[in-house]
């Protein structure tokens, strides 16, 4: 036992060494870290609320104060007029006030805020104005839209910064779902095939009954509730969805257990193979043979309420098949290979063979396709927002910016910058995946 752990350990070290050896991979890894950083701290990088303001003898920290309490407000006594003035942070125009001192964020605009003085596609190099306490003025460097604005005067740079969050989460979440599904089903199908998993008829039927009931109680009669809780909030919806899954698996396992313990004779007692491979392959085929993007569009169109999380789930649920196919193909080969056969002969349990021996060797291609998958998930999201489907329209995403650019192609900054952002992110994922592939390939083990 300890020997194996030890082996694992050295292998991990080795893999990391390998990874570091791959320069592009390493650099893209750093880039990814950087992107994550941007995503996490976006409210302090691009925000119409300054980090620090001193006004009317009081000092505020709007960016922080509005972080949790949207409608934060305070009152001050205006030094000139001597009148009491209420500042509602959500719509105070700090630029306009006569402040003693101010520290802006790097990009002093919020993604969905209109700058009504720089509307209709103001370019990075065009002259930009803002309204100070003494009237219209040429914007100073800090208040400029460095990547231009869109038709309504929304700052592109800010949109990009906040878009990072969305793209990253879409990619990771949807692919997380996809990978779990894909590897699980793929491994099952590939390892057991149609013949290797024998159960008594009784148990087989029990499993089917379990599946049916699990679906019925988990999803069918709860469909209304699930929908409602999704409209209540993303988290609630997700929880109630997970609850459904729990129902499903719970029932299945419970019934298969019953099938196991009940002694069955004669017809029911005869043991038959579970055609796992066929089931999985058919499902994959059906899902795969429907054009993915069209499928996503259709499902997204069915969603009455537009929500990002739903989008992620949809993308994830439709794109696990690729991973599953690769895993399956790999396991098809693996199960014939010497060391797996050997493990069988040694009488190891299937679970152990799959997870300890087969999986590490079978994962290499999976990593490639997961990496490509994250990339294509981000691509899918941006494509959808490019078409204006599925994503709420008052949320600014890279795709939506790009679509604006397409409407107005003299506004090159609306095409180039979002395009570049998407491009970089996807490249990063691909290169990392590639590096991982080389690093984790067990065949390199000497």
């Amino acid at each position: 036992m300890s020997k194996i752990e030890n082996k694992e350990f050295t292998f991990k070290i080795y893999a990391w060494e390998q990874f570091k050896a791959n320069k592009p991979g390493l650099w893209s890894f750093y880039t990814l870290v950087f992107l994550v950083f941007i995503a996490l701290f976006s409210p302090f990088i691009a925000n119409q609320q300054p980090l620090y303001v001193e006004y009317g003898g009081k000092s505020f920290y709007p960016a922080f104060q509005t972080l949790f309490d949207e409608s934060y407000s305070d009152t001050i006594v205006n030094p000139e007029t001597g009148l009491k003035e209420e500042l509602i942070f959500t719509h105070t125009d700090w630029r306009r006030l006569k402040k003693e001192s101010v520290i802006w964020t790097l990009i002093p605009y919020s993604p969905e805020q209109f700058d009504k003085y720089n509307t209709d596609f103001v370019g990075p190099n065009d002259d930009q104005e803002y309204r100070s306490h003494e009237g219209m003025k040429e914007s100073p460097w800090i208040l400029r839209h460095h990547l231009g604005t869109d038709g309504l005067g929304r700052d592109v740079a800010s949109g990009l910064i906040h878009g990072t969050k969305i793209s990253l989460s879409v990619g990771i979440l949807s692919m997380g779902i996809a990978a779990i599904l894909g590897v699980f089903f793929g491994a099952m199908a590939g390892y057991y095939g149609d013949t290797k998993f024998e159960v008594t008829r009784l148990r087989k039927y029990m499993i089917f009954i379990g599946l049916f009931l699990g679906f019925f109680y988990g999803f069918f009669i709860r469909s209304g509730d699930i929908g409602e809780s999704f409209s209540d909030g993303i988290l609630d919806g997700f929880l109630s969805f997970v609850l459904g899954l729990i129902f499903l698996f719970g029932f299945t396992f419970f019934f298969s257990l019953i099938g196991k313990v009940i002694p069955a004779k004669g017809f029911l007692g005869r043991s038959t193979p579970m055609k796992i491979d066929s089931y999985v392959s058919r499902t994959i085929e059906v899902l795969n043979s429907l054009p993915t993007l069209l499928l996503i569009i259709t499902v997204a169109a069915i969603m009455e309420e537009r929500s990002l999380v739903m989008l992620m789930v949809i993308i994830g649920a439709t794109s696990w098949t690729g991973i599953a196919r690769f895993t399956r193909a790999e396991f098809l080969k693996l199960r014939e290979l010497e060391f797996v056969q050997a493990a069988k002969v040694l009488g190891y349990s299937d679970r152990r063979i799959i997870f300890k021996h087969a999986l590490p060797n079978g994962l290499a291609p999976v990593f490639v396709s997961v990496a490509f998958g994250v990339a294509s998930a981000i691509l899918a999201e941006s494509s959808l927002s490019f078409l204006g489907i599925g994503v709420p329209e008052d949320i600014v995403t890279w795709g939506s910016l790009l679509s604006l650019g397409k409407e107005e192609f003299d506004a090159w900054w609306l095409v180039i910058f979002p395009g570049a952002a998407i491009f970089i992110t996807i490249t990063v994922y691909n290169l990392i995946g590639d590096a991982l592939r080389d690093a984790l390939d067990p065949k390199h083990k000497k």
């Binding site: 059906v286 043979s289 193909a329």
Partner: protein
């Protein structure tokens, strides 16, 4: 001789498997069609409403269009949307199994919700029944003539609430409604809606919600939307000669259709499952004028009150006989509409597939054979950059650069040919010459991204094989690098490439959605996309089913090749 043996062995190994796969091919297709059918029928909004409402430029509805319920009813009937969706439906013991008859989607859904909550359809229908009277009551006791203006407003508001009670989806909502209704009644010079309130109370008190935990299957028989779509009128009685006429108190009925004579007009009526009252769907001036739509055919009735003969007008063939039905959008045959788009997409995809294989296979091999070398590194970086470029981004830029007089106006900006000069009876070569420019930009945008994917997979495959023992031995035997590559490596490393091959078609159809709408190419993607936006069920179905079918076919081919290249894979066992 040995070759022959090989072939025999191969057939022995693969034959039964292929046969099995071909058998499975059909059910898979059916599942695909069913899936897409369910998806499309669950799309929000009512296609009928869409058809009847005329939409003008930039979403302005023309003021001069009128869509009353009756026309909607008829259209719905003509499209066969008034039928159950499938042969059977899964429900709970609480549900009502004839809800599908309701024309209005919203009411249907809310009725189901309420029933589930209360847990007893009888109570709910009791409640719906009680809704019939109040409106009449009010009309009688408060005719417009006696009311002042404010009262009139109260009244119309009240009537609106009473009508909207049909759409109540939960007991809680019910309470709120009834409360406000009471208030309005008072402000009208109050009176009681006794029956209704009783019904509501019983609803609240003796509902038994355990019923919804009992699954139940409702069987609808073969006269359903899916059957009509897939098989047409197969199995549905083709020719009725004499209808079994039952004439009790002037009511004539023929299977689910009932006709009644009221002041010398014949009405076709249907019992509304909710209020149990009769909806008069059509009126006829004489019995012999009666006609109705049934089992996908128009049936006309001729004859006297005692003896009726029905003539079948026309039937539907169903997909199995190549009839995808009529498009909701323009009433054209889906078959014709989709055929052109398929051929367009097909050529594009074929070209791009060939192109991408031509490029990526050698690149992959080369990269692998010099793993870690300069070529490997650079090719991977370049290819990834290509792959990572979003196609719509590239397409847009291509358009702005190569179809734009500000830069290079080399290629046309949209469409697949120029109607001004194009001539139908040109020779194939002339057509190609004319159309080629239109395909260049789209082809580039289609293809470039697949380079990386394919070549990476190829590379992976090759590397896998290169490290295999038998390759080492081959090398050890002193075979030339090239021979090794071609003889051993290429053959075995083809597996992943093959797995990918099958995925290309649906990917292409899906992916082409954006490109085709950018370049304005009437291919599958664009057609499908528009169909989805227009709720054009038959078109959606056709697109999904056809591309699905083609893909499944691709899989079978892939699997066979799979077996050809890798003898170690045992399929049949």
């Amino acid at each position: 001789m040995i070759e022959l043996e090989k072939i025999v062995r191969f057939v022995k190994r693969v034959g039964p498997y292929v046969f099995k796969r071909l058998l499975i091919f059909i059910p898979t297709l059916i599942i695909i069609s069913l899936l897409s059918f369910l998806i499309s029928t669950n799309a929000p909004g009512d296609p009928v409403a869409k058809i009847v409402t005329a939409m003008g430029q930039d979403g302005t509805a023309s003021q001069n269009s009128d869509a009353n319920e009756r026309t909607k009813q008829l259209v719905r009937k003509k499209l066969g949307l008034d039928k159950p969706i499938f042969y059977f439906s899964l429900g709970t013991a609480a549900d009502c199994d004839t809800l599908y008859r309701l024309p209005d989607k919203n009411i249907r859904e809310s009725a189901e919700k309420l029933t589930r909550e209360v847990g007893d359809w009888d109570l709910v229908s009791e409640f719906y029944n009680s809704l019939k009277t109040p409106v009449k009551q009010i009309e009688i006791s408060f005719p417009d003539s006696v009311l002042n203006q404010s009262q009139l407003n109260f009244k119309s508001q009240l009537i609106f609430y009473l009508n909207s009670l049909k759409e109540v989806a939960s007991v809680k909502e019910l309470d709120i409604k009834t409360k406000s209704i009471k208030e309005l009644c008072d402000s009208l010079g109050g009176f009681e809606l006794v029956q209704m309130e009783e019904a509501i109370n019983t609803l609240k008190t003796n509902g038994n919600s355990w019923k919804k935990y009992i699954p139940s299957l409702n069987w609808y028989g073969i006269d359903n939307q899916y059957h009509l779509w897939l098989l047409g009128d197969i199995g549905l009685d083709k020719n009725i000669d004499t209808l079994s006429v039952t004439m009790n108190n002037q009511v004539l009925s023929f299977d689910e259709f009932n006709f009644v004579k009221r002041d010398n007009l014949w009405y076709r009526f249907n019992t509304n499952p909710i209020t149990n009252d009769t909806i008069f769907e059509e009126s006829f001036h004489s019995l012999s004028q009666i006609e109705f739509y049934n089992n996908g055919r128009w049936i006309e009735v001729e004859g006297s009150d005692s003896e009726l003969t029905a003539y079948i007008d026309r039937g539907r063939k169903g997909v199995v006989r190549g009839d995808f039905g009529l498009s909701f959008e323009d009433g054209m045959y889906v078959r014709d509409k989709i055929w052109n788009s398929i051929s367009v997409s097909f050529w594009l995809i074929l070209c791009s597939v060939i192109l991408s294989y031509l490029v990526s296979v050698p690149v992959g091999i080369l990269a692998a054979s010099k793993k870690g070398g300069r070529f490997d590194r650079w090719s991977s970086v370049v290819l990834y950059s290509l792959y990572s470029l979003p196609s719509f981004f590239v397409a847009t830029i291509l358009l702005y650069t190569f179809a734009n007089p500000d830069f290079f106006a080399w290629f046309p900006e949209s469409g697949i040919y120029d109607p001004e000069t194009f001539d139908e009876n040109w020779s194939a070569w002339e057509k190609i010459k004319h159309q080629a420019p239109f395909f260049v930009l789209p082809l580039i945008a289609y293809t470039y991204s697949s380079f990386a994917f394919l070549s990476r997979i190829m590379r992976a495959g090759v590397i896998d094989v290169i490290e295999k023992d038998y390759v080492r031995t081959a090398r050890a035997k002193g075979l030339s690098e090239k021979r090794v590559l071609l003889k051993h490596v290429l053959r075995n490393s083809a597996i992943p490439i093959i797995t990918v091959f099958a995925n290309i078609f649906p990917a292409a159809v899906g992916g082409s959605v954006i490109l085709e709408s950018i370049f304005d190419i009437p291919g599958m993607g664009k057609v499908g996309y528009e169909a989805i936006l227009n709720l054009d069920y038959p078109m959606i179905l056709a697109v999904f089913t056809i591309s699905g079918g083609l893909t499944v076919f691709g899989y079978i081919v892939a699997d066979i090749l799979y077996a050809v290249v890798d003898p170690r894979i045992s399929l049949s066992k």
